[in-house]
Every structure is written in C-alpha cells, then in structure tokens.
C-alpha cells in the first residue's frame, strides 16, 4: 500500500472535535448489560469486519502546520477488544469507561467485555470511541450494526451483514436542499455559539486529583411512561418535557432568582437534513446545538414548560435549524492553516456551559446478541472539564438513563446527585400536570 493511500482527510467536524479537547476528553461512552455470554471469537471477527469498513477507526490523527489528516495504522483486534472475567463486571466496565484514547493512537475505538464470575452469566459490553470519529447518533448505528453482524455471522447469513462506509463530509447536511434554499443554507455565516447567559453548573474548583467519572440516574419504567403520557396529553415532546424539568432543576441548583434568564443548549441531530438520514454516509459527527433560553423561571411547571416550548418552537420551525455557523467554520478551516484556524475559531466559539443531549431510544431488539438478553445500558457523552456540564439521555427497555460525565472529585459526584434528585423532584411536578 502506498504512503499516500494511507492518508484520510480530516473532515471539518473531526477538526472541530479536536479543538474541543480543550473542553472535554473527546470520548463517547456506551455500556450494555446482557444476561448470557457473547461468542468472543465471532465478536472479534465482526469488529475487524466493521473497523475495516470504517478506516478512521484504525487511524491516528496527525496535526501539521497546514492541515491535519488521519493516517491508517496497523492494528490487531486485541488493540480494540479486551475480554476479562470480573467479580463485579459493572464496576469494572465503569472503570474502563473512565479511560481515554489518545488522538494519535493506532485505533480510535476500545471495546471491553466483562464476564461476571460465579453463578451469574451477566456480561457487560463497554465501549468508548473518539468523538472525532463519530457522535452519539452514529454510535447508535454502530452498536446496532455490531449486534446485527454478530447475529448474521453466527447464522452464516453473510449477505445480511452491513456497515456504512460513505462520505464523512459535513456538507451532506445540504443534500435535502435545492435552489434558493441551498444557496441560503450555504450562506449562513452566523456565529450562533454566543449566548447571553453565563450560568455555570456548581461544580467544585478544578483540582489535580480530579478523575473521570460518569454519574447517572435511571428513571424507571413507570415514571418514564408517565412522562410520555403527560407529554402526549399536553402535545409536547418528551424532550420538551425533559428540558422544562432541567430548567427548573438548574434554577434551583444554581441558586438563580425567578426573574433571571437561563440558557441550556440542546443537541440536535443534523441527519434530519440528510437524504435517508445519513444512511449512505460514513461514521461521522452531525450534531449541532440550539440554545434554549427562558427569560424567567416561571411560577409553576406549566409556566416553565410554556417558556421552554416557546423557545424551542422558534428553532423547530426554522428549516435551517442547526445549520448556522457551519459555513463560517468551513471558511475558517479553508482559508487559514490549522493553528490559526483553531485560534480564530476558539476565540469566536463559546462552548455551551449547560447542555442536554437526548440521544433518544436505543432499540433493544437491534442491540440483542444471539444467546444473550439485553438487560440495560446507556450512552453517555464526553467527559467534560469544569465548568462545563452535559446531561446525556438515552432510553432503553422503557427506562430513561440520565448521565453526566465529568473530570471531578467526590464533591462533584455529590453535586451531580443533588442535581439528579432535583430532576426527579420536578419530574413528579411534570407528571402531575
């Protein structure tokens, strides 16, 4: 193989996520708990099959003065997959998830299988991947494809095995636009990262002893069903409800006055703008933020919900939702060499202090490996550095998992748990509407 063919283009979002190393550890985390054992030999083959189709996963990121690039690296499946017996598989999986992958590593994904020892047949599959390679949306696809391919290989149905391997370019998001709309979408040179409110999560002061931690809270089936039912009754989405609950919890946790304004950024999947939802493209990032802002807390949960949906509607009704700033970023990366582009973008970009990323439902059916039963799991976003805060939300088997990953101390765990307590408190208020 020639040296040239070993290079892969570093796409705009790869470079943006590289820039985000200043705000978080660039890892996306997944944990799935099964009853039953996985066939490791089959799993290894499937992993290699998929990683070969997505070369960015076995590449190192190389920075140069002008333009960074990915370089395909040699690897073995053992660089990616580790298997261990464990007395406490879930604990060990959590420890594994706290790790990171250097951007110049030969592989950008790490998968661990922990088999519970003793009488239990519990198996925990943990995965962490460089956010520069894919976002939560494509991680959902990846794990679904992994389970599907595993099952197909076990049954010898080679024709049913799949793995998308198309373009990773950001500009697929314009594929549904044409004519004037396309022209307008490509001309949205507006910096929307600047927000008016600078309220931060009350994390403790950063310390050298801080470590990566994922704190989570599970909302049970009954409560989640009640949220869905109330949301349906009121004609709002579960995400709207979650945002309203989050706003009330943050007003209280951050000690804001009732008439203070507050902005919480909400992740949006840009694949809605792509033909076939990006099924033809490769693994990449297609996520943007919209800044949901309320000017006051609102006396009741109803008031807060009204404030939230008013803010959200202005975004939802915009056919260019999430597409602002992208031409500006592209321009900066096109005309400036890497270091200057990073400097300029970092100067102009405000990473959201408070954010929610609702990755939606994980399909238990699609995540099942033959011979084992899925019992639970979640996806969590990158481990943020203080003062940033991100709440990741996934739903699986009718249960909703809220999680936040932070490089912090035991005190920060307590703050996060206090936040989740408030979430549960306001969740009840919402259910009673």
């Amino acid at each position: 193989m020639s040296r040239k063919s070993k290079k892969l283009k570093a796409e705009m979002w790869d470079r943006m996520q590289f820039l985000f190393r200043n705000y978080y550890d660039r890892m996306v985390h997944l944990k799935l708990v099964y009853e039953g054992r996985l066939d490791i030999s089959v799993l290894k083959q499937v992993i290699v099959y998929m990683v070969e189709k997505a070369p960015v996963l076995h590449s190192s990121f190389n920075t140069t003065v002008l333009e960074p690039y990915w370089r395909k690296e040699n690897y073995t499946v053992d660089d990616i997959l580790s298997v261990a017996q464990s007395d406490d598989a879930e604990f060990d999986a959590d420890l594994f998830l706290a790790g990171t992958i250097p951007y110049d590593n030969n592989v950008q994904i790490k998968i661990a299988v922990f088999e519970q020892t003793g009488d239990s047949v519990k198996t925990v599959l943990a995965l962490r991947v460089n956010h520069m390679c894919m976002d939560g949306g494509d991680l959902k696809y990846f794990i679904g494809a992994l389970a599907n391919n595993y099952n197909c290989l076990k049954r010898g149905e080679y024709g049913e095995m799949r793995m998308k391997s198309g373009s990773r370019s950001y500009d697929q998001i314009y594929s549904k636009f044409e004519g004037e709309d396309l022209k307008k979408a490509r001309g949205l040179y507006k910096n929307v990262s600047k927000i008016k409110d600078h309220v931060g999560f009350p994390w403790s002061e950063p310390s050298d002893s801080d470590i990566n931690r994922i704190i989570r809270r599970e909302i049970g089936e009954a409560d989640f069903a009640a949220i869905r039912s109330t949301a349906k009754k009121l004609g709002v989405t579960v995400n709207d409800a979650l945002m309203a609950i989050t706003f009330r919890a943050l007003y209280e946790l951050c000690g804001l006055k009732d008439d203070d304004s507050l902005t919480v950024s909400c992740a949006i999947d840009l694949r809605k703008h792509i033909v076939e939802g990006g099924a033809k493209g490769g693994l990449t990032n297609h996520t943007a933020w919209l800044a949901c802002r309320t000017l006051e807390r609102g006396e009741t949960m109803s008031d807060t919900l009204v404030n939230v949906i008013r803010s959200m509607k202005t975004f939802k009704r915009d056919k260019f939702m999430g597409l602002y700033s992208l031409p500006l970023l592209k321009l900066a990366y096109t005309i400036f060499p890497q270091n200057i582009a990073e400097f300029a973008i970092k100067k102009g970009y405000d990473n959201p202090l408070l954010a929610v990323s609702n990755m939606g439902q994980l399909d238990a059916q699609k995540l099942s490996f033959d011979g084992s039963t899925l019992k639970g799991g979640f996806i969590s976003g990158a481990t943020k550095y203080k003062p940033f805060f991100l709440m990741s939300v996934t739903t699986l088997l009718g249960r909703m998992t809220l999680s936040t990953a932070i490089r912090g101390s035991a005190a920060d765990v307590a703050v996060a748990n206090r936040y989740f307590d408030l979430i549960e408190k306001y969740l009840r208020e919402f259910i009673e509407l």
């Binding site: 009121l234 004609g235 989405t237 009204v306 949906i309 509607k313 509407l433």
Partner: protein
C-alpha cells in the same frame, strides 16, 4: 414530534373558519394567505399554552385566543397598508432601476454611434463611463431621498461621499484624457477637502452631535489641501514659504472656533442653570411657608 393534542384538533377547524371569514375583508393575495397561516399557527400555539396552564374548555380557549388577537379588522387593515407600502416601494425601486438601465443603454448607443461615425473609440468610451456613473449617482440620490424621509442620515452621508468620488474620478479622466491637462491628479487632493466639506455640511443639516468637532477638522483639511494644491500647481513659484501660514491659519481658525464653541456651551449651561434656579425660586414664592 409531539402528536396534536385533542383540544388543538377541536379548535383548529373553528380557527380556520374564523380566519377564512375575516380574511374575506381584504384582497386575496399570496401574502394574505401566508399571514392567515401565520395567525392560525399563533392561535394554535396559544391554545397549547393555555391548555398546559390548565384551561380545558375549548370555548373558553377560543374566546381567550381570539380576544388576544385584538381588533381583527384593524389588524387586517394594518396588514393591507403595510403590504401596499411595501408594494409601492418595490414599484418605485424597480422604476428607478429601469430608468438607470435605460440611461446606460441610451448612452451606450450614443457611444457606439459617435464611435462609428467618427471612428474615434478613445476617449469616447468616457461617454459610456459617464453614463454608468450618472446612473449610479441618480440611484444614490433616489435612495438618499428615501432614507432621509426615514431620518437615516449615516447611509446618506456615505452615498454623498461615493457620489463625490465618482464625479472626481470622471472629471480626472476627462481632464487627463480629453484635455491632456498635466497635474490633473490634483483634483483628488481637492476631493479630500470636498468630502470633508460635504460631510460637515450634512452634519450641520442633520444636527449631528459631532458637527462642531467636524467643522475645525474640515477647516484644517481644507487649508492643508489648498496649501499643497497651490504649492504644486503654481510651481516653480515658491509659495511653500510663507504658504505654510495657510495651514497655521487653519489651525488658528479651528482653535478660535473651538474656543467659541466651548464658551458658548458653557454660557448655555449657565443660562440653563439660572433658569432652573429661577424656577426653584418661583416655586418657593408659590409654595414656601414659614412654619
């Protein structure tokens, strides 16, 4: 996407009927249709909000939302007026553009005819350039008049400056290419003074706060440019010395003007204070008691 709630499903047809009926009072245009849809969305949003806040009676929600719209007749009349104004403006703008294009086309024809008849294509191309510049200046005058009506002075000041630059460039080309006058480039120095002069005049006309600051700057620039132009134009006559006194004179005039301005302002302030004191005194005469 959230499903449509029952109350919205109930009220949507009623809102549609209501809006369809009311919109018959105004002309059936595409803009009116868009506005009607916008009002429906507004009513539906409000319905959802009221429902979230606890009103479940559809009739009450209907009444509340329609009341919140205000006087629908006024609303629609206002909309029509806005549309009419927008249409008028578009018409005038398109007329202005058409006139400008016609002028350019006419001048292009004149240029071709003159060129073909005389066989001289250079510098007759100045006719074409003059036409384009004239059209641009006409457009800027037209836009300036519109902007002045809206009291938007800053873009007008820019347009005046742009017009002056175009005129200067044209005159320079004329002097250089047709009349072969050496040192015709000096007109660009005059242009600088002219730009300051016209902008100062505009500042005074518009009552701009900085007009008294701008005036001495203009005077000084005028003197300096005059000094340089005369110095170069009248060479070899040595007027550089004592011509520099012109610059100094400019500074002196500017200083005097600034002193007068400061003194005047101070006096005006004193007068205002005296007046205020007087008012206080009068008030005391009217209302003060000895107890």
């Amino acid at each position: 996407m959230a499903a449509e709630i029952e109350i919205v499903s109930i009220l949507k047809p009623r809102y549609k009927d209501f809006l369809e009926g009311e919109f018959r009072q105004i002309a059936p245009t595409k803009a009116a249709m868009e506005y009607r849809k916008q009002l429906l969305q507004q009513l539906l949003d409000r319905t959802q909000e009221l429902n979230i806040r606890g009103i479940v009676d559809p009739d009450l929600i209907f009444k509340t939302t329609i009341d919140e719209l205000g006087d629908i007749v006024c609303l629609l009349n206002d909309f029509e007026e806005r549309e009419q104004r927008s249409e008028d403006l578009k018409h005038k703008l398109s007329t202005g553009t058409a006139v400008a294009i016609a002028v350019i086309a006419l001048i292009a024809i004149v240029y071709v005819i003159v060129g073909a008849a005389t066989g001289i294509w250079h510098p007759t191309w100045l006719i074409l350039l003059g036409g384009i510049f004239s059209s641009l200046i006409l457009l800027m005058i037209f836009a300036s008049l519109k902007l002045l009506k809206k009291r938007k002075v800053i873009p007008v000041r820019f347009m005046i400056a742009a017009s002056e630059i175009l005129v200067t460039v044209f005159i320079f080309l004329l002097l250089q290419l047709v009349f072969h006058i050496s040192k015709s480039w000096l007109i660009f120095l005059a242009m600088v003074a002219m730009l300051f002069g016209s902008d100062t005049a505009m500042a005074f006309l518009a009552g701009s706060k900085g007009r008294w600051i701008e005036l001495p700057i203009f005077i000084e620039v005028l003197c300096v440019m005059l000094y340089v132009i005369l110095g170069i134009a009248l060479a070899p006559a040595k007027i550089w010395h004592p011509g520099w006194l012109l610059c100094l004179g400019g500074v002196a005039v500017a200083v005097v003007e600034f002193i007068c301005y400061t003194v005047g302002k101070s006096r005006a302030k004193d007068a205002a204070e005296e007046k205020s004191e007087g008012k206080k005194q009068d008030e005391a005469y009217w209302t003060q008691w000895d107890d």
